[in-house]
C-alpha cells in the first residue's frame, strides 16, 4: 500500500497533519482525498475521522472529489487579468468542455482558478500540477494541452 509508505515518512504527531494530507492527495491517482485517505491519516494520528474531515474541508487546497491527472490552475489576479486571462479562461472552458472546478470526461484535466502565482512577469500564467507555464496564448495552451494528453 503506497499510503502506508507515505505515513511512515512522518511522525504520528498532530502537527504533521497537513503534510500528510498533502502527500496523500498528491499521490492519489485522482489528486483528491478519498475517504480511505482520511481514515488512514486519522488512524495513524489516533484522532477521530471527524477531525481530519474538518481540516480537509477547511482548506481549499484539499479536494474531496476526484480530479483529473493534471490540474490546471489559471491565475486570475489583476496582472494576468490585464493580460487577458479572462478570455483564456473562456477558451479553456470551451476547449476542455468543462466549467471551473470540473474535470474532463476522460479524467485528464481539471480546470481551477487560482490567485497570484508570483510570476507576473510572464502573465498570463497557469500552473499545471507543479509546473508553471507563462506567456500564454490560445495556441500555446493548445500545445501544452496536447503534450499532456499525449503523455497521459
Amino acid at each position: 500500500m503506497y499510503r502506508d509508505a507515505i505515513l511512515k515518512k512522518f511522525d504520528p504527531r498532530l502537527d504533521n497533519i497537513l503534510f500528510i494530507l498533502h502527500e496523500l492527495q498528491d499521490n492519489n491517482p485522482q489528486h483528491y482525498l478519498a475517504n480511505a485517505d482520511i481514515e488512514k491519516c486519522a488512524d495513524y494520528l489516533n484522532i477521530p475521522y471527524s477531525y481530519v474531515h474538518g481540516v480537509v474541508t477547511f482548506y481549499s487546497m484539499f479536494s474531496l472529489k476526484p480530479r483529473g491527472r493534471y490540474i490546471i490552475r489559471l491565475c486570475d489576479s489583476p496582472p494576468c487579468h490585464l493580460m487577458g486571462s479572462e478570455s483564456l479562461l473562456d477558451y479553456l472552458k470551451k476547449k476542455l468542455k468543462v466549467d471551473v472546478g470540473k474535470t474532463t470526461a476522460d479524467g485528464v484535466f481539471t480546470l481551477e482558478i487560482t490567485s497570484c502565482l508570483g510570476i507576473c512577469g510572464v502573465a498570463p500564467a497557469l500552473m499545471m500540477n507543479e509546473e508553471m507555464i507563462g506567456n500564454l496564448t490560445p495556441e500555446r495552451v493548445d500545445t501544452v494541452l496536447e503534450e499532456r494528453r499525449q503523455t497521459s
Binding site: 477521530p48 481530519v52 477547511f58
Partner: protein, 744 residues
C-alpha cells in the same frame, strides 16, 4: 492549608478577589456580575467564538472577550458602558441574521410562549415553524437581557433539512449559531470525536465526517451535545412532546452499578428528560445513553401495569390490592420452604432488598434468596462477587500508568469508567483493550486484541508471563505472532509501573469461559498487584450483599469494619439453586429471568412491565419504578447513593417493600412493621452506621466457599444486555433497540 493567592480586580467599580488562572468571565460569574455569553460553558475550555462577552479593560486595546482574558492584578474592567452595550447589540444582531428570530419580534410572541404552539405539536399552519420552543433557549434569554427588540440586518435562512434519521434526538442546523459547545463537549469532555466543524465561513456546518449519520460515525448518544446546545438546534425526540418541565429532582440512575447522578426533569405526572450533573462526585456528568435517553420511555411505557391482575381462564382480570395481597398470602401459606422459589432482582433499591430478604427468611422460612446474577454466573458467582465487591473507585484509573480493559466497552454504557480510561491514555498511560469486538477504547489503545472470549484467559496469562519475562508457552503462539512486538513494549511499561488498573467489563459474564478468565484476573490482582475496577449491570449488587439478600449471608455480615476482618465462609450447597426441581410457587420480585426458571404451579410476578416469554404469570403485582420511589443504591464503588421520588407512582403501583410487607402482615408472619422508607432505613442503620447519609465508601469482606458448587447447568446467562428489572431496555426504548441492532 495555605491560603490561595488572590488577585484584586475591579469590575464596574466593585473590587473583588479573583484567583489566578481565572478568566474575567469566571471571576464575574462568581460574584454574580452578569456578562452575557453563549459559547462559554463551565466545564469547557475558553473559545471566544460568540463575542457577546466583550468588556472594556483599562490599558487593553479594543474590547477583549472576557471568556478568554485572564485576570491580572489591579485590572479595571467595565461591563456595562454604553459602548460595550452597543457592541453587544450589534454582535447579537449579526448572530440573529442567520438564526430564525421571529420569536423576538412576532406580534403573537406572548401567545406562543403560553401555548407553545409549534410545528412539533400542532399543524403547520397554526404555529411558528422555526424552533422547538422548549423554553431552554439561551439565545432568547440573552436577547431579552441585552434588550434587543429589533434587528437591522436581513435574515438569511440556511434552509438545511432537519436531520431526523438518528435515534434519540433531532438536529435542525438552521438554528445553530456555531458556538462550538457541542463540538467541544464531544471532543474534549467525552473524548468521542463524532462532531466537528465542516467547511468554513458562511457555509460552515456541524456534523460527523463524510456526512455520515451519527450512528454510523460512532456516536455514543450520550446527549452531552444536546445538553450543551444553547439554542433549539438539538432537541430530544421524546421529551419535546411534553413541553416545558415544571420541576427537577436529583436522583441516582438505576440502570447499572456505576451510580451516576441524574437530574430528572419533571411535569406533575411525568419524567420528561434526564440531564447530567457536572458537579457530581461519582461520574462528573459523564453519563451514558441509557441514563440520558432511556428513562422516559421506560417509566412511561404504554405496557406498564397500573393495577394488580389475576389470571383467569378468560385472560387477565384487574383486581384490587386487598384481593391481590390476600391471593398472594393464601398461595404462600402452608408451603414448605423447598416448595417455593423467590427470586430477587439486584436492581431493587437497598431498602427493598432488605425487606425482601426479611420476607424470605421470616415468612417462608427459607434461606434460598435466589437472584438472576446467581443464575447468570452459575458456579463462578462467588469469585465474581469477590472481585466486584472489592472493586476500586473509578478515580483509580485517573493516575494509572497501565490499563487493561477486559470485555469492556463504554460506547453505550459505563461512560464514567470508559472516559477515565481514555483520559489516562491521552495523558500517556499504556492502554490495552481485550474484547470480542472492536471497542470504543481501541482508538487510544496501544494494543487492541479482538479475539473470541475463549482466548481472553490466554491473553491475560501471556501478559503476566511477559511482565515477569517468562517464556511464552505453546498455546500463545498465534497471539505472539500477531501482537508479539507491541505486546513486549506494552508489558515493559506494565512491569515498570506500580499503578496498573484492570477494568473488568460485563463481557466476561456472558463468556462461557468466565471461570478461566476470572482465575487469571485473580492472579493479576494478587500476584501482580493490579488494581481492579469492575463494571457490571447488577445495579445494587453491593446493596444485596450489604443487606444479606443472598443465600447464607446474614444482613450486615459482609460489611468490613476492620481490615483484619476474616472472609465469610459459605457452604457450597447454599449458593447452588436447583433450577430443575419443580416448585409449587415461584415469586419474582423485580426479576424476569423466565428462561432459567423451573416449572411451577403458581407464578407471582412483581414488576412494572410484562415479561418477554410464553409463561404467563398467574398473579401480577404492579410496582413503582425508581423514578417514583425513594431509597438508596450502593454503587460498584461502595458509595451509598440517594434515589429520590420524582413523580407519584404510576396509577395504582406500589413500592416493592410495601407489597412484601403487606403480604407478610396478611399472613401474620414476620416482624415487618414498616410504614415508610425511613422506618426501613432505621432498621438498616443498625447494620450500617449513619445510613442512609453515609459518606464513607462501604467495604466488603470476601466470601470463601467451602466445597464444590454444583452448577445448575441451565446454559448461558439470560440476555442481560442493558436491561432493567429483567426487561431489556431495547424492548421498551425504541432508540436503544436501534443502537443495539447496529451493534449486532
Amino acid at each position: 492549608m495555605t491560603k490561595e493567592k488572590t488577585i484584586q480586580i475591579t469590575i464596574d467599580n466593585k473590587t473583588i478577589d479573583a484567583r489566578p488562572n481565572q478568566t474575567i468571565l469566571q471571576a464575574a460569574r462568581e460574584y454574580q456580575i452578569y456578562i452575557p455569553s453563549l459559547c462559554a460553558m463551565e466545564h469547557l475550555s475558553s473559545y471566544g467564538a460568540c463575542r457577546l462577552c466583550v468588556v472594556e479593560v483599562d490599558g487593553l486595546r479594543g474590547f477583549p472577550t472576557s471568556c478568554t482574558t485572564p485576570v491580572e492584578e489591579g485590572m479595571v474592567i467595565r461591563t456595562d458602558t454604553a459602548e460595550v452595550k452597543g457592541l453587544r447589540q450589534e454582535v447579537l444582531k449579526l448572530l440573529l441574521s442567520e438564526h430564525p428570530a421571529s420569536c423576538l419580534f412576532c406580534t403573537e410572541q406572548d401567545e406562543c410562549k403560553q401555548y407553545m404552539g409549534t410545528i412539533r405539536k400542532v399543524g403547520a399552519t397554526t404555529g411558528c415553524r422555526y424552533c422547538p420552543n422548549d423554553h431552554r433557549c439561551e439565545l432568547q434569554q440573552i436577547a431579552e437581557n441585552i434588550g434587543l427588540t429589533e434587528t437591522s440586518y436581513p435574515v438569511y435562512y440556511r434552509n438545511f433539512p432537519v436531520e431526523k434519521y438518528d435515534p434519540f434526538y433531532d438536529r435542525d442546523y438552521n438554528l445553530c449559531i456555531l458556538c462550538g459547545r457541542c463540538v467541544r463537549v464531544c471532543n474534549n469532555v467525552r473524548l468521542n470525536g463524532t462532531l466537528s466543524f465542516k467547511q468554513r465561513g458562511r457555509v460552515t456546518t456541524i456534523g460527523p465526517a463524510f456526512d455520515r449519520s451519527h450512528i454510523d460515525a460512532g456516536c455514543e448518544f450520550c446527549g452531552a451535545c444536546v445538553t450543551a446546545c444553547p439554542t433549539g438546534a438539538l432537541s430530544v425526540k421524546v421529551s419535546k412532546w411534553y413541553g416545558r418541565p415544571e420541576g427537577q429532582v436529583a436522583t441516582t440512575c438505576n440502570y447499572c452499578s456505576a451510580g451516576c447522578r441524574l437530574i430528572l426533569q419533571t411535569t406533575k405526572t411525568d419524567v420528561i428528560d434526564a440531564l447530567p450533573d457536572y458537579d457530581s462526585a461519582v461520574e462528573h456528568g459523564i453519563i451514558c445513553v441509557k441514563g440520558r435517553f432511556g428513562i422516559t420511555e421506560y417509566v412511561h411505557s404504554p405496557l406498564r401495569y397500573g393495577t394488580p391482575k389475576e389470571m383467569t381462564p378468560a385472560g387477565y382480570n384487574d383486581i384490587s390490592w386487598e384481593e391481590a395481597i390476600a391471593k398472594a398470602a393464601g398461595k404462600l401459606s402452608g408451603l414448605k420452604p423447598d416448595d417455593c422459589l423467590i427470586v430477587v432482582s439486584p436492581q431493587l433499591l437497598t431498602e427493598d432488598l432488605f425487606v425482601a430478604q426479611q420476607f424470605i427468611r421470616q415468612v417462608t422460612g427459607s434461606e434460598e434468596v435466589a437472584s438472576s446474577f446467581i443464575f447468570d454466573l452459575d458456579g463462578d458467582a462467588a469469585s465474581f462477587i469477590n472481585l466486584a465487591l472489592a472493586s476500586e473507585p473509578f478515580e483509580t484509573i485517573e493516575k494509572a500508568q497501565g490499563i487493561l480493559a477486559v470485555g469492556f466497552d463504554s460506547t453505550y454504557g459505563y461512560s464514567p469508567i470508559g472516559v477515565k480510561a481514555k483520559q489516562a491514555a491521552q495523558a500517556g498511560a499504556s492502554l490495552m483493550s481485550l474484547n470480542s469486538f472492536e471497542s470504543n477504547l481501541d482508538l487510544l489503545s496501544k494494543i487492541a486484541f479482538v479475539v473470541n472470549s475463549s482466548r481472553w484467559a490466554d491473553v491475560l496469562d501471556l501478559t503476566m508471563s511477559r511482565m515477569s519475562k517468562g517464556k511464552a508457552e505453546k498455546r500463545f503462539a498465534d497471539l505472539v505472532e500477531m501482537w508479539g512486538s507491541d505486546l513486549n513494549k506494552t508489558c515493559e511499561t506494565f512491569s515498570c509501573s506500580s499503578h496498573n488498573v484492570l477494568i473488568v467489563g460485563p463481557g466476561i459474564i456472558d463468556s462461557p469461559d468466565r471461570g478461566k478468565i476470572l482465575r487469571s484476573i485473580e492472579r493479576m490482582k494478587n500476584e501482580y498487584s493490579w488494581k481492579v475496577v469492575v463494571a457490571h449491570q447488577y445495579t445494587n449488587l453491593a446493596g444485596m450483599f450489604a443487606m444479606g439478600a443472598c443465600p447464607g449471608i446474614k444482613p450486615g455480615e459482609m460489611i468490613k469494619e476492620a481490615s483484619a476482618d476474616k472472609a465469610v465462609v459459605l457452604k457450597a450447597e447454599l449458593i447452588h439453586i436447583d433450577l430443575r426441581k419443580k416448585r409449587k410457587l415461584i415469586y419474582l420480585i423485580g426479576d424476569a429471568s423466565f428462561d432459567s426458571l423451573p416449572e411451577c404451579e403458581f407464578l407471582i410476578y412483581q414488576n412494572a412491565l410484562p415479561p418477554q416469554c410464553s409463561r404467563q404469570p398467574d398473579l401480577i403485582l404492579p410496582v413503582s419504578l425508581f423514578t417514583e420511589a425513594s431509597g438508596t443504591v450502593i454503587s460498584a464503588e461502595g458509595r451509598v447513593l440517594q434515589v429520590k421520588e420524582a413523580v407519584a407512582p404510576y396509577m395504582d403501583s406500589k413500592p416493592d417493600w410495601w407489597i412484601l410487607k403487606s403480604i407478610a402482615e396478611k399472613m401474620g408472619k414476620g416482624k415487618m412493621k414498616f410504614n415508610d422508607v425511613s422506618s426501613i432505613q432505621g432498621e438498616i442503620k443498625k447494620i450500617i452506621k449513619g445510613f442512609p447519609a453515609v459518606k464513607k465508601r462501604i467495604e466488603f469482606k470476601e466470601i470463601e466457599v467451602k466445597g464444590n458448587v454444583k452448577t445448575h447447568g441451565k446454559g448461558k446467562p439470560a440476555a442481560w444486555k442493558s436491561s432493567y428489572r429483567g426487561i431489556p431496555l431495547g424492548e421498551v426504548v425504541s432508540g436503544i433497540k436501534v443502537i443495539e441492532l447496529k451493534g449486532g
